[in-house]
Assembly symmetry: C2
Homo-oligomer: 304 residues x 2
């Protein structure tokens, strides 16, 4: 990894003509049929399932990857297979990077500063050990949870990787705390946004290395989020299955084509369940559909 | 695992006459000397370091475990060794449970409901896969982050394991968001506390299965926290190295002897660095010192 995340992402968006992030949330009971054979052969159930998960992700990356700029593996979906799941995760990271895709590790970690530093080592750094240096996952960026405050984010921000801070998520319960009104005015999520805007360096591409997660179903918040974080990259999960529509995301692209990253998981991987097409073809078509809309929105935004 | 977490913890506290939680935050560059030999032999650095981490934790559990009721492995410290680190984590969970200790997996997870469900599978459940059912870590309880709201906590609360929700943490940055004043009155952390008080069942032992993480350095918040969550089990990290003093924790024990769980990591594992004693002896002595103080506080509280 070399260069800042914002610059690397901007270059990748320009080259690949895509802002779409392929979410990888493999459910080991519902993998693509073509991946199932990888579970044959020796090993405990976790090992066999993990092989099939890797193969499922490989096929998905092969099919939909060309229309995308990054993948976003959901760490929980791998961790539930234990050590073999973590091996699968590392393999998937390598496969995605070999295909020219950036990797955003979606683990939403957040902890006391020394522990946050250990998570940064695990995801995108290295760890000194009595047996020599151990490399982490090698993700290009990761998602983090800011509840523990600025000092808990510092070790993440200090790492070379890009950081996406949860600001306003897309689940119904997001309103429970993120939308509470503060005595000083504004909402809790706006105060999270203000902190994000102070973190990370502003790069020549017009973007900062520290971005924000804004649920795509929370698109009504986008104009205000952009006002508070004019140069942050927005990671926009929840397209498709969660009800987010990529057409609504225009404000994300105000600072540039790489300003918004619409992310879709099930709506791509499960596209064949709607239309009946072969999984790889359906996934490719859906990713390409999202790519075209997002690319068009960004182009419109650039002409304003 | 059978029975509710609150009941199982209450029974364990009574049997072991301890509320102390042994934090396991192994730093693979600073393990006990007696653990280093386990890194000899074949394997990649991560595998060799992971073996030594397991051995370090085994020795620590053997030394300090008898004075404790539970261990709290810090997931980040294992994840930074990748798949071998996850194997070490699973081994440490098994070693602790074999020694009669409960296991609180400290990962502070929090995510959209379907992903939260995957984390619950990973930590304390099982996952259906195309190759058969895969067991998770088998933790007795785990820590979670509530920023995403009530729906994101539901899959954790629905699991059989105990849940500790971050309410007021012990790092300096905790004040950044947790202490913000709300327009409706009160602080953000108090509103987190109110949610916790509505979750989980109240058991005959007088405690709920859903507890709260309250940093031990935030002890000035304890009386108010107890008011808002009269039956929650408080997990109280930050004793020792982070500056928390177990003497200040009396309000935690108001609902019963198992109402407060002071947790210490470095102050036990590194006790020998202060006094010069052999690591195992120093760790045992420090854990026993904390145990006596906490047990005495709880007894005083019971007589009120």
């Amino acid at each position: 990894m070399s260069g800042s995340f914002a610059e690397r992402l901007s270059a990748a968006v320009a080259t690949r003509e895509s802002q779409v992030v392929l979410g990888l949330d493999p459910d080991p009971a519902r993998l693509w049929p073509a991946a199932a054979a990888a579970a044959d052969g020796p090993g405990a159930p976790a090992e066999r399932a993990a092989r099939a998960v890797t193969e499922h992700c490989r096929l998905l990356i092969e099919a939909a990857g060309p229309a995308c700029v990054a993948v976003k593996p959901q760490l929980a979906c791998f961790e539930r297979l234990g050590a073999p799941g973590w091996t699968a995760l590392a393999q998937v990271v390598a496969l995605a990077q070999a295909a020219g895709l950036l990797v955003i590790a979606d683990g939403k970690r957040g902890d006391f500063p020394p522990t946050a530093a250990a998570y940064a080592q695990a995801l995108a750094g290295t760890t000194p050990t009595l047996a020599g240096e151990v490399a982490g996952l090698g993700a290009d960026a990761y998602t983090v949870n800011p509840l523990l405050g600025a000092d808990s984010l510092a070790p993440f921000v200090a790492s070379e990787a890009g950081v996406f801070v949860l600001v306003r998520t897309s689940n119904p319960g997001a309103a429970d705390f993120q939308d509470l009104e503060l005595a000083s005015g504004g909402l809790v999520w706006e105060s999270l946004a203000r902190l994000v805007n102070e973190l990370g360096e502003l790069r020549p591409c017009g973007l900062r290395d520290v971005g924000a997660v804004i649920g795509a179903t929370a698109h009504t918040h986008l104009p205000r989020a952009r006002e508070l974080m004019p140069n942050a990259i927005f990671l926009l999960p929840g397209i498709g299955a969660q009800g987010g529509e990529v057409e609504r995301l225009a404000p994300a692209f105000a600072p540039g084509r790489a300003g918004g990253l619409p992310s879709a998981s099930r709506s791509i991987a499960d596209a064949h369940r709607e239309g009946g097409a072969e999984p790889a073809h359906a996934a490719r078509a859906e990713a390409e559909r999202l790519r075209e809309i997002a690319w068009g929105l960004a182009a419109e935004q650039a002409q304003r």
